[in-house]
């Protein structure tokens, strides 16, 4: 199934992805340039500033050079893995991130898994039984799920489960496989619920659309059992648009994972970046943005691969 055309298509997407990441770096760099106050001040903010430090920062970041030279040199550093130095934390940014990224991505992963498990089957059922009691119930649940901000549900969950019922740990990330799992389960569930609600609605809408299509009528005319029509045929057709949008949601997921982490005090990237924003610690925010963009691009490419499975018309480079 991996034809040379598919490979070509993916290479194109990869190239585009690299372009996007590069553009993001440029965008953020430009923002730095246009911010009020000199870049040196921004870079230094959060820490105690002396004139010597200012000079050394100007040296280090080549702030006396024209902006395009600055950009190029900075880009070189980033490519080599040097993400700058955080003055508010007095540590290299790369190190700060290396300590924390694992937790965040575990939450993202588990959330995505839970979201899919929750939303796809229910979406199929709701879409296939449009208008029924089950459908209405599920839809209302989904709407409520989308409307509650994740920090709201997080706070409430902590209040109810940890303080009053004492069922689950209220904070921290735990250690060891089981420990980690118990700690990240509730936050991931909340996050997964939010994204799952969106996925559910799309899946349901997709099923509704697909079930009206001619090729489903053929299945009925050929006497295929209804269960097979819905689960094997309609579901696969309906999942294609869901896949397209899910790439976008990874972005949401990463950021809201950080929020959830913050609420649950879990020591991942969330707390780091949020404090960085407060302190106007630009290097950290910059680094976080770039990492997010990279993850976004990579997951979109993965999604594209999956999409060619769900809708083979695309692999050939065109649509019917």
């Amino acid at each position: 199934m991996i034809s040379s055309r598919t490979v070509q298509y993916l290479l194109k997407r990869l190239g585009f992805g690299v372009f996007i990441v590069w553009a993001v770096t440029l965008l953020v760099f430009v923002l730095l340039q246009i911010s009020p106050g000199s870049p040196a001040d921004v870079l230094l903010s959060g820490g105690v500033v002396t004139e010597e430090m200012r000079q050394s920062v100007i040296e280090q970041y080549n702030l006396n050079e024209p902006w395009y030279v600055q950009y190029f040199l900075w880009l070189k550093d980033v490519a080599a893995g040097d993400l700058g130095y955080s003055f508010s934390q007095q540590r290299p940014v790369a190190g700060l991130i290396a300590d924390r990224w694992a937790i965040t991505f575990q939450i993202v992963g588990l959330s995505m898994l839970l979201a899919t498990l929750l939303s796809i089957p229910t979406g199929i059922i709701a879409g296939a039984n449009h208008g029924s009691v089950v459908d209405r119930l599920l839809t209302v649940t989904a709407i409520v799920g989308v409307s509650i901000p994740v920090f709201v549900s997080g706070v409430l969950a902590i209040l109810i489960f940890s303080f009053h019922l004492n069922v689950l740990p209220s904070g921290g990330a735990g250690s060891g496989f089981v420990g980690r799992l118990t700690h990240i389960f509730v936050p991931s569930l909340l996050l997964g619920g939010m994204v799952g609600a969106l996925m559910f609605r799309m899946m349901r809408a997709g099923m509704r659309d697909v079930l009206e299509k001619d090729y489903i009528e053929t299945c009925t005319a050929m006497g295929l059992p209804r269960r097979q029509i819905i689960l094997k045929y309609a579901a696969k057709n309906a999942i294609a648009p869901v896949l397209t949008v899910s790439g976008l949601w990874i972005g949401f997921l990463i950021v809201y994972a950080m929020v959830v982490e913050f609420v649950f005090g879990m020591g991942g990237l969330g707390r780091l970046i949020i404090h960085a924003v407060e302190a106007q610690d630009f290097p950290i925010v910059l680094a976080g943005t770039i990492i997010t963009a990279v993850v976004f691009v990579v997951s979109n490419i993965v999604v594209d691969l999956l999409y060619t499975w769900a809708d083979p018309r695309v692999a050939v480079g065109g649509s019917e």
């Binding site: 090729y215 006497g223 295929l224 059992p225 083979p312």
Partner: protein, 369 residues
């Protein structure tokens, strides 16, 4: 032709759509019969109800449509009384359907081989290998080159004509007794049309299948059909042997349809057309549905719905037209009631029918009083 048991006997079928303004009868009280090896053609303009008729037989009518009256007897079983599960077992297996648009009727996410094997899996006891063997057999039979490779192709990798062959293969997979084809060639190029028509005819003879072919193309009918039903605004207005009807159409609409087909012998500057347009099904005229466009229409036609007259001296040939008063009639039905005495009085004296263009003496001759 011997009178064997019909494969399909539709009796007074009415299919209606329940919309805001009230029920709309797309198929109004129609009957037909098909025997083994026989091809029945249903011909009519768009909106005449011919597709709905076919879909009703297949059980593909969904909300807001429903079968409101009548029986559909397949080999003695009434399909309208069948449970969903029992009907499902017949579909694709004993009764198959061929759609008009092959590309949109094949699932883009699965290979054609997958789709056909699923049909086989649903209705036969063949194991996986046997199913794939049968798929290759079928594709080969339908004239698709390199069947083993093509079975692994996706629908969008086929041309229109090839895709239709795939659909036909799927329909024939379980060796049905009855094949329903809804304008199977209308969406294809003209040259491909001819190929598919020949193909279907050959296959039909080979497997002795009963077939109903819905089309708007009289040429196709002439070539392939044994029996013909002409539909207008939900009603079958003429029904009988194809050759008989083509020679001597008994209903003005049939005559007009035949007249409008251009032939290479025509020398006039303009095409023959039928004035006007078919009526909206929500808004049918009183009396005969064709009266607004009929060159032979009379006052009686405006007030009375014609019964089915048995014409041409044959019990198998009927026309729903007052021109044939005096001929024996079929038993009264909802859409073709017995005429009462007042209709006699309104029947004009000979020679004074309004607007008649072609006073065909053969037709008029039969109504001499």
């Amino acid at each position: 032709m011997s009178r064997s048991e019909p494969v399909l006997d539709v009796d007074r079928l009415t299919t209606q759509f329940n919309v805001d303004g009230g029920p709309v009868k797309a198929v109004d009280d129609n009957s037909l019969t098909v025997h083994r090896g026989e091809t029945l053609g249903i011909v009519g303009e768009s909106g005449s109800g011919k597709s709905t008729l076919l879909r009703s037989i297949m059980g593909l009518i969904e909300d807001p449509g429903e079968i409101a009256a009548g029986e559909i007897n397949y080999r003695g079983r009434d399909l309208t009384e069948l449970s969903d599960e029992a009907f499902r077992q017949l579909r694709g297996n004993d009764i198959s359907f061929i759609f008009q648009e092959p590309m949109s009727h094949l699932n883009p996410a699965y290979t054609v081989g997958d789709q056909i094997t699923d049909v086989l899996a649903a209705h036969t006891e063949l194991n996986s290998d046997e199913r794939w063997e049968r798929v290759y057999e079928l594709l080969d039979l339908l004239g698709i080159p390199a069947p083993e490779d093509r079975a692994d192709s996706y629908p969008h990798e086929f041309s229109g004509g090839m895709a239709q062959r795939v659909c036909i293969a799927m329909a024939l997979a379980c060796e049905p007794d009855l094949l329903l084809a809804d304008e199977p060639t209308s969406a294809l190029d003209v040259t491909i049309q001819a190929q598919i028509i020949d193909l279907l005819s050959d296959l039909q003879s080979e497997f002795d299948v009963a077939m109903i072919w819905v089309t708007h193309d009289m040429g196709v009918v002439a070539e392939t059909c044994d029996t013909l039903g002409v539909m207008y605004a939900g009603n079958i207005v003429e029904y009988g042997d194809v050759d008989d009807i083509f020679d001597d159409p008994k209903h003005p609409y049939t005559e007009a349809l035949l007249g409008s087909v251009p032939t290479h012998r025509d020398t006039s500057d303009r095409f023959e057309t039928i004035e006007g347009a078919p009526p909206e099904l929500q808004d049918l005229p009183s009396g005969c549905v064709f009266r607004d466009r009929c060159p032979e229409a009379t006052d009686a036609c405006r007030s009375h719905r014609p019964p089915y007259y048995e014409v041409g001296g044959s019990r198998d040939w009927i026309a729903k037209c007052l021109l044939h008063r005096g001929d024996p009639t079929r038993p009264a039905t909802d859409s073709a009631p017995e005429l009462d005495a007042s209709a006699d009085a309104e029947w004009p004296a000979e020679g004074s029918a309004d607007g008649g263009i072609d006073e065909d003496p053969k037709i008029r001759g039969e109504t001499n009083r």
